[in-house]
Symmetry: C2
Subunit: 309 residues, 2 copies
Amino acid sequence: MGKTLIFGHKSPDTDTISSALAYADLKNKRGENAEPARLGPVNKETQYALDYFNVKAPQLIEKVDADVESVILVDHNEFQQSVDNIQEVRIAEVIDHHRISNFETKEPLYFRVEPVGCTATILNKMYKENDVAVSKEVAGLLVSAIISDSLLLKSPTCTKEDVDAAYELAEIAGVDLEKYGLDMLQAGADLSDKKITELLTMDAKEFAMGGERVVIAQVNTIDINQVYHQQAQLEEEIDRSIKEKDLGLFVFVVTDILNSNSDVLALGRNKDKLEKAFDVELKENRALLEGVVSRKKQIVTTLTDAYSE
Amino acid sequence: MGKTLIFGHKSPDTDTISSALAYADLKNKRGENAEPARLGPVNKETQYALDYFNVKAPQLIEKVDADVESVILVDHNEFQQSVDNIQEVRIAEVIDHHRISNFETKEPLYFRVEPVGCTATILNKMYKENDVAVSKEVAGLLVSAIISDSLLLKSPTCTKEDVDAAYELAEIAGVDLEKYGLDMLQAGADLSDKKITELLTMDAKEFAMGGERVVIAQVNTIDINQVYHQQAQLEEEIDRSIKEKDLGLFVFVVTDILNSNSDVLALGRNKDKLEKAFDVELKENRALLEGVVSRKKQIVTTLTDAYSE
């Protein structure tokens, strides 16, 4: 049996890395030949979790090699968020919790998307379905993923299933959910040493909306002003990215994890779509979106609506 | 809680009708407000199953009305195979066993596609997952769907899961799998009273391939010559359909259920794609495809390859 590679999206976050590691672990325990991989650098938050539970990051890949028989996508399904040569490989499975878009296969596959807050929550269920016990390390990774995606269970994307899984996994992992969660989020929210380009790419996703390419990049922080200290340089770099990829819109979302708001910076010829979507007026290209913390549930959906009107 | 409508693809077959009925039954038993529906006439094979188990066909709908809160797609996911106003409705779930293509939502949903031979096999599993017993009637519908999609467990799409489910369900339904299966298939294979247009639409699906629209219509028979007796009229009607919808290719697949072969009739400007795909030469627009019985696994995949070369 050939090798199966399991990976999440580009600009990997904690759910993407943890889900790849956990699903490879589950596959291996079922006697299947699977290896986890990642499509980009490990961010600080994820590194905190990996260090805490003493787990090695998965291998970095730029493309899927010819000796790989099939791939499994976790935590994403849209091809533009996946490995560059995704169209050339056989996709055996998808395990995800995002909207479905720009995905296509020739053959039937195992495709499991559930409307929960985190891929890790689905994987926790899959361990049970397969009667495989979750180890302390894997439990630590999975609970870290839930904390990350739900901003410690506060995001509107967070469901009862996520909450239940988080408490269950925290116990197996031997951590206090609140304390560990805040420590991990703060490790990730430390942006002080980030270069401008890093801020804009560390958690950036591209979407197709109304025939336009839209990039939405997000960072979490406990100090919004510190991030916007360099607004001019951020704008310069965003403009470069817009020209290079012919984007209709670039939205940089700076989320205040303590107060659950986002201060966004938007550039591009479709700036009016963002203003229309959230009924705000951009001032110096920025607007405060009260109560908005979820890219998936609060930004992508609202913006997609504005594009399709 | 608003109403949820559950339906399968256009030109409904036994899996589409049975899955809509069964999933609505499961939802109702879980206390949810769901109604089955269908997008076209009930074919003879399905009618045989409905009559045998004394179940009423689901309601016929042409579009989803405004009072419907959400819809669930069973046995399909490609929008061109679904209800005409599918883009205007909220899709809550998809339960399917086909390739994924031309499907998109704004929001996350419950999307479950498994590489098995029949949607009914997934539904049988879902009854178990939900601890709901399958009634004799529903078992009868589900086993009929498996028999239909697998041509009595003979199609290459048929997996071990389908076989196990078929025997299990046949027992609950109180039928002999072989005997009931052959009777049902023969009821469906009786094409003697079909008009030309019916033959071409009773199980027709449209696909997007290489930027072209391709229709593949399939009928099962125990007498291929009887179907092609009227080849000239079939071609006339297919030509009309090609012009009307600007199709690149129309493939009419006549499958001999006793010998597991298909004799296909192909028209359209992309006829060469079929010849290339199966390495055959069309004679009088026809070719015998030895051992080919599955549109999904043997025709769509091979043809898609030919279009993408």
